[in-house]
Amino acid sequence: MENFLRDPAPEEASKLVLSAYAEKTLCVKIPYDPDSVIFSALLTKYFNGEVAVTFSSDCQLTLNKGDIGNSVAYRGVEVFVGSSAFSSLLPLTVEDLVPILAGIFSDVLLRRRKLSDWEQRILNNAENLGVIREKGLKIPAYREVPLFLSLFYSLDPFVPDISGNPVNALKLVKELNGNEFTKLSDLDESKLNTLLFRLVSSLVKVNPKATREDVIDDRYFYNNYDSLELGMSVLYVMDTQGSPILFDAVMNTSLFWTFVEWLRGLLSRGFNVQVSEEGNRYVVDSNLSPILAYIVLRQAGKAKDRRPVYLRRGEKFVSSRFFLNSPEEGLIYDDKD
């Protein structure tokens, strides 16, 4: 606990992690989330010996995520890293840029937090590798896809009546004198302000404290990737397919683009989120994955406790390992129902 009263020391943690490469074999204990899986896969990628990744047993190298922040412990030395994603502690290279962005931004979305000072420093360095930073709307892939699709795909922020609804998303763009092909960059300042006003007005319906800050942020892009969409896609893929596929993508980074396409495939069918509290769990009527539904619920101030999120699938209920203490991965059906 004493360590946690100190300032975060991610640089020190980074050195501590790299010292583990001296081991012949390595065991890493991690929490079950995409950032931690990406971290352990990156570590494994350049480790000569065998590596075990455990979610429960004590190990030489342990990653902890708690309410007051994250820490890394290796052979009796524990270093506090604040809110920084573990993926940000590993060396930044062109080869590993996409997985590191995926780790950082999946964690930012999952924990509903701002980038840490350390992560901003890492992203500043990433600009030398081709990452583009700009102040922009927090809607996915707006540089690549038409505005109405970008609004339609938006999960964070989840804009009532627009997110998941292509008809209403296109209607909004048409109100701005746009059409199916209009991109965000085609809007002039006046139309952009109108769009912002419309988005914030919608957000206020579920979150009375919503402001322009909820829809504008520093946005990061690399090649075709939008970091926001990339983060969301790894949350979705790990939730529905499990951790090994993320592990494989870290080894073969072009697979991350497949994840983005899978997410777009899911969202393009349209989606909605209706939640009810049933005893010791949240039950959501939605065709999203449990984590994606959780991200939407958190924006409305719901699902703050540790109760698991279940999706209703006909007569059955389905959740995932992020919410359940289970050795199974992917979508997990509740056999009790």
């Binding site: 065991c27 455990t54 992917g330 059906y333």
Partner: protein, 149 residues
């Protein structure tokens, strides 16, 4: 036993008791005598056993079942090995530098830690195959669907 095996396309049923009777004969032979003639005799029997293995293995690989014969375990091992081989070549597993990602199925001691079911281990392919056959780990398939979807 071998001559019978060679006569038919399908594997013969060889009961456990039949093999245990043979084993006893060979054990006695090995213990009782220690001279060149008997050594040669045992060598011939070993070669016949080796041929029996090859013939029955070929039949299993062609899709025949060993039923409840003494060596029916061969079938399970070959089936697991075949599935691993095909999936490995088809890129169904996370691999890199001669290692493959596996999921722990039964508790496994590794690097001072007891790994639990559901944990992951990135290990040499040869070692992974050994542990796969003994049911301790299974390679992580990238294309396994959820249980009911």
């Amino acid at each position: 036993m071998l001559s019978k095996e060679l006569k038919d396309e399908k594997p013969e049923r060889i009961a456990e008791q039949q093999v245990e009777d043979l084993q006893l004969i060979f054990k006695r032979l090995s213990m009782k005598y220690s001279d060149k003639i008997h050594d040669e005799e045992l060598k011939v029997y070993s070669e016949l056993a080796d041929s029996l293995f090859e013939v029955r293995l070929a039949k299993v690989l062609e899709g025949h079942s060993l039923g409840d014969s003494f060596d029916s375990w061969e079938e399970e091992i070959l089936s697991k090995l075949r599935e691993f081989y095909v999936s490995f070549v088809m890129g169904h597993y996370p691999v890199r530098n001669g290692k493959v990602l596996c999921r722990v199925v039964k508790e496994l001691y590794f690097s001072g830690t007891v790994l639990k079911p559901g944990d992951l281990i990135f290990m040499e392919v040869k070692k992974a195959v050994g542990l796969l056959l003994s049911g301790v780990v299974e390679p992580c398939s990238l294309f396994k669907k959820t249980r009911r979807e």
